[in-house]
Amino acid sequence: MTAIDEAAGTTPVLQTEGITKRFGAVVALRGVDIQLRSGEVLGLVGDNGAGKSTFVKIVCGFQRPDSGRILIDGREVHLHSVKDARAHGIEAVYHDLALVPQLSVYQNLFLNREVTTLGRLGWLSTRKMRAQAQAYLDDIKVSIPNIEAEAETLSGGQRQAIAVARATRQNAKILLLDEPLAAMGAKESALIIDLVKDLAANRGVSILVIDHNYTHLFELCDRVNVFQQGRVTFDRRVEDTSLEELTELMVSEYRRQVMAGHRELGDEVTAP
């Protein structure tokens, strides 16, 4: 992809080095190194429990790593809170968490960034917000039939789109999406995939996506990283890998785990 070629050799927008995290006896992350370049869509795949969500929570400031470094534009940052991360332009979007179901689409887009008049009285400039919301959604090609509809009445895909739109409208430069297509139909997925690609290509937003569906990932991403047991074990541009290679990687990992399990139980192991 051109975005990568252009960016090759330049400093990654987001880079992590040796991120570790344990929860009691569970080691969730064993030293995660990733690089996300400007305008790039990076996919994270891996088994359940491989540590992908934990990694996202650390990068968005929700959890603290035990060790390791996070660099934004080559400079190390310390993220103590979600607010910190947001100040650096990083935002994780969880569509089911972000929106207020009872507020309208445009109110959600402007949540806590309302356009007001009359100073401290905080009189809402409803018309202005509606117009700006519509203009912004048109701009990023998100089509919502009625921006006055309550968020509750939208489909999952539309809610996700609104949540993403809010983050980018409020200047998020790095988006973290943890399984944004989970439980979505084909149409819904297409909506989000188009939005993500458009934001990356036309607005230079860098996006990290966790997803289990390889077909989606190949359509969506410029590059794929495979998480295995708290580490990134595979890093390729999508055109340099294939569905078969990824599947084989995951299956062999699965076999390895099964055999390790047998060994622990003292079973005789013969390679399948």
């Binding site: 979600v82 607010k83 968490l97 972000a98 929106l99 207020v100 179901p101 009872q102 507020l103 109110q107 949540l111 806590n112 309302e114 007001t116 009285l121 905080g122 009189w123 809402l124 409803t126 509606r130 117009a131 519509q134 959604l137 048109d138 998100v142 089509s143 919502i144 039939p145 009625n146 921006i147 006055e148 509750e152 009445t153 939208l154 489909s155 895909g157 539309q158 789109a161 149409k187 297409a190 909506l191 188009d194």
Partner: protein, 347 residues
Amino acid sequence: MASQATLTPGETSPAAPPAAPSTARRGPAGSLLRLFVSRREATIFVVAVAIIVYFAARTSEFYSYANIVTIVQYMAPIAVIGVGEVFLLTLGEIDLSAGQIFLVSPWIVVWLQQAGLPIGWAITVSLLCCLAIGAINGLITVLLNVPSFVTTLGTYFSLLGLVLIVSNDAQADMPGTTGTFGQIFGISSWSEIGWALLIVVALHIVLKRTRFGMHVTATGGNYLGAAEAGIPVRRVKVWSFMILAFGAGFIGLLDSIRIQSLDPASPGTTVMFSAVSAAVIGGTSLLGGRGTIIGATIGAIVLGVLEDGFNLIGVSANEFTLVTGLVILVAMAINVQLSRVGARMRT
């Protein structure tokens, strides 16, 4: 309008929900149903009109000037405290002490007057005390992270006890207020309802048209999400307790200036429960996120008309209490049903 701006003819939108069929309950019945689903106040409005028509048909006394004054004086405190409770219910909170704040504010005026303060100052300080009580309710709730049900139950009993102790169980007279000042603040028959309407309109505007009101809805609708977005959710809650406490204290002063005598033993629970009932039968959800000031106001009218109407046709207060209970249950059932229908219409 902006609402139609997105879809230009011929363009199909990937975002469009599986259009019409599932939403289709067409014809006048369908649009009526949609009206009731989208405007929660519609149900209670129909109920209000029905009972007004009923009582007006039963007795001509109902629409006499004197009787209308009686009704509006009865409903004014319920409306003011009710719309205050709408803020709290929208936040997923409740204030059980509001009725007691309503009763304590004139007592504070009496005590301060006895201590030698001029009436103007006594009233000012009393209202500040009400704000402080609201702040205490709110701060305890958000800082200790306890349900406001418990916090305000505590302040309710504390205030009740305080009045009983300081008043020595003796009734007192509200200091006389005269002249235009007195007329505006309580003595005129229309003073209380006038102020009540002013407060209702103001709070409706605050809830629907200001940043603070939007933050109330956001905090009640999605507490974590609102906090994530940087909304000062705790401060929003504390302010809401203070708004209600101030309104309750203020209308309490007007009420006592009209009635003139104060009874330390009367508990504030009656007016508080009526107020919460008004809010709930008006369509405000106890689960938070959805409040309607207009609904609560019509709810207060319903309660006022019921009480008065039963009185007129010779039904006792006991039966009124029973009917109030049934009205709450029925209104609740209708609202729950309407939310279900609403959910089905959407999917």
